[in-house]
């Protein structure tokens, strides 16, 4: 069977669809569904093996295979560069896009960083990479490759970083926003990131996703392991709205969302029942005419949640169910392309009073050209829920 796209992204106009499927990046022309670029990570990794925790230490027993995935795909503001991360050697990949060439992906730089990247952002030709060790590195697109040991972090948390955003205030001053596994969202000046502007604190669990909507860059939507998402004015450090999402998705939660076996007994004793846990996998927005909608994906669910942005508030608009779990989605102009964990693989959405599934030929052409066939399980498509903190035993 074909492996679903783990990542989808698009340019502002929605002409091209950038995808990653295991260790392959494919670029599609969204006008005709043809592949216009392809790149495969051929790097062998010393770390591509199954990690098993030591049972003797009394720690949680689980195994996780680290595969050779491409994670994160973003375009710079000029849309001349595509930036990605490769799992194999913990590196940042910078491609120059040449849409007239037979293969539009031209790798111009592969910069290794010391720890596993967890997110990246780009603004004004500077890429910033956040890693799982809590540090952020700055990598200019045009600079020479740096010796990995000489890279100095521009900021750091004593926590696992989960997302990073580069933003500008109303007066065009740049800032960097970072979020971590210990509930913090930090706003720092940029590039003088040693001056912290402030914190946005109202989460009780990890914060996995930050999203600054294109329709108002003073806003920030954050979400993670909580039952709610937060709408902030990040510049004024003001919480504008807390939006409950659990109620909306409760019926779509299944055994995947239960806490790990080892703590179920304890939870049942304490709470009287098992509590299913939600994790935010993706936040994005789409503008249709004059109206803007925020789209939320909860990990391992078959639904997209739509909220309309009205009077500086998010108002519930629609929930759209698919036949299988959604892995990722991208907004291409005024359409939405959804990657599904099923034989269907990809669906397109169009807006007509509300968002509806649009059966179109281009999507079928794209599906035909997916190059990765696999029979492995797709566990890695759902990495976020494992970020939840569990009480550790005290010594």
């Amino acid at each position: 069977m074909k492996h679903p796209f783990q990542l989808l992204t698009s340019d502002k106009s929605g002409k091209y669809l950038f995808t990653s499927n295991q260790n392959v990046i494919q670029v599609f022309n969204f006008g005709d569904g043809n592949v216009i670029g392809e790149w495969k990570d051929e790097t062998e990794s010393g770390q591509l093996k199954t990690v098993k925790n030591d049972e003797k230490k009394g720690k949680a027993k689980f195994s996780q295979s680290i595969s050779n995935y491409i994670r994160y795909l973003i375009l710079d503001d000029s849309e001349n560069y595509l930036i990605a991360c490769a799992d194999s050697d913990k590196s940042i990949l910078i491609f120059k896009l040449d849409l007239n060439a037979s293969n539009c992906l031209n790798l111009i730089k592969r910069q290794q960083i010391p720890k596993r990247p967890s997110s990246l952002a780009v603004q004004d030709s500077i890429v910033v990479v956040a890693d799982k060790f809590g540090d952020v590195y700055s990598i200019p697109i045009d600079s020479e490759i740096s010796d990995m040991d000489k890279l100095e972090p521009i900021l750091g948390h004593v926590s696992m970083l989960l997302d990073v955003e580069l933003v500008k205030s109303k007066n065009e001053k740049p800032f960097i926003i970072t979020c971590d596994r210990d509930e913090h969202i930090r706003i720092s000046n940029f590039p003088k990131s040693y001056v912290i502007k402030g914190y946005l604190m109202n989460h009780k669990n990890f914060v996995s996703k930050l999203f600054v909507p294109h329709f108002d860059s003073s806003l920030l939507i954050s979400g993670g392991g909580d039952d709610y998402i937060c709408l902030w004015n990040w510049y004024n450090e003001n919480l504008m709205q807390k939006i409950d999402i659990r109620e909306l998705v409760e019926e779509y939660l299944d055994d995947f969302h239960l806490p790990p076996e080892r703590i179920r007994k304890e939870q049942e004793e304490e709470e009287g029942k098992l509590i299913k846990e939600t994790s935010i996998a993706q936040i994005s927005s789409v503008t249709i005419g004059e109206k803007s909608y925020v789209i939320i994906l909860i990990e391992h669910t078959p639904v997209l949640l739509f909220f309309e942005f009205v009077n500086n508030n998010l108002k519930y608009f629609q929930i759209l169910k698919f036949e299988d779990n959604i892995v990722n989605f991208a907004v291409t102009g005024d359409e939405i392309i959804v990657s599904l964990d099923s034989e269907t693989l990809v669906k397109a959405l169009k807006f007509d009073i509300e968002f509806k599934i649009d059966e179109n030929e281009i999507v079928s052409r794209i599906i035909d050209q997916i190059s990765i066939n696999t029979d492995s399980n797709f566990q890695q498509l759902y990495p976020i829920s494992s970020l939840r903190k569990r009480k550790e035993n005290e010594f």
Binding site: F133, G156, H157, V158, S188, N189, Y194, V195, K197
Partner: protein, 274 residues
């Protein structure tokens, strides 16, 4: 469980009972009730010196600094209940007990990651308050919290809130691989700069020369800190207290070890930052 550790646990349990009683019966009054409270004995609270700052300890901390109820921690009435002095990794609390009477109008908070050591300091402060309830100075302005300062300081403190931060005899984390676990790093200093007011001071002291050089290197290279001179150190009361009064400091003295001091002033933010 060995006989000894059992004895230590029983002692701590009994102290905890007292602590609860004081808190429940007299939450807001200035003087604790007539309970007999004796100074705790350190040997019942000893804990290994190291703690991993990266692990998910079961900690209590407020969701943000606005949610912190300081009145619960400081029994006397203070004008605005703003902690101004923090002793990061306060250990057995020796520094605070000396600083308390020196700055009777400032709230002082010790933070310690080890649970039993925190309990010791808590019991010690309770006992001191009880023993001094009829005196002018009653130890009402010092308190301790269990916490991981490397992760959660912004949960407790607002921007520019503190005027002094103390880092006394921090864990040296000798191994290269563990250097990020050190309490002074370039990236953490930005967070300390955030909660320190302009002109505020970071005090460091250690008996490990290598760690001293590390802290100096990182503080020197941070754009928001500037080292204070030897002359300044000599006239500063806190330096003197820090040098002489902490348990670690006294231990170093007994062993004829050296102590290295470095103090840094918080510089103003650059004009083009917010």
């Amino acid at each position: 469980m060995s006989n000894n550790s059992n004895k230590r646990r029983l002692y701590r349990d009994a102290k905890e009972e007292t602590r609860k009683q004081v808190k429940i019966e007299t939450p807001d009054t200035e003087t604790p009730s007539d309970l007999e409270i004796s100074l705790p004995k350190k040997r019942f609270y000893r804990q290994r010196a190291h703690s991993n700052p990266f692990s998910d300890h079961a900690l209590n901390y407020p969701i943000n600094s606005d949610s912190m109820d300081w009145k619960q921690l400081y029994p006397q009435n203070y004008p605005n209940y703003q902690v101004e002095i923090a002793d990061i990794g306060c250990g057995y609390g020796g520094l605070m007990i000396q600083l308390g009477p020196e700055f009777p109008n400032s709230l002082i908070l010790g933070m310690e990651i080890r649970q039993q050591v925190t309990q010791y300091v808590e019991d010690r402060i309770l006992a001191l308050r009880q023993m001094n309830k009829d005196k002018d100075y009653k130890y009402g302005n010092i308190q301790v919290l269990r916490g991981n300062s490397m992760k959660f300081l912004p949960n407790f403190f607002k921007r520019g809130q503190l005027s002094k931060m103390f880092f006394c005899f921090p864990d040296p984390h000798f191994k290269q691989r563990k250097h990020k676990a050190r309490i002074i790093t370039n990236t953490l200093l930005s967070e300390y700069a955030y909660i320190l007011k302009e002109g505020g001071v970071i005090y460091t002291i250690t008996d490990v020369e290598d760690l001293h050089l590390w802290m100096v290197k990182h503080l020197d290279s941070h754009p928001l800190f500037e080292r204070l001179s030897k002359e300044w150190e000599q006239q500063d009361k806190c330096v003197e207290i820090m040098y002489n009064s902490t348990e670690e400091g006294k231990k170093v003295e007994r062993n004829n070890g050296s102590k290295w001091i470095a103090c840094y002033k918080r510089l103003p933010n650059p004009d083009d930052t917010e």
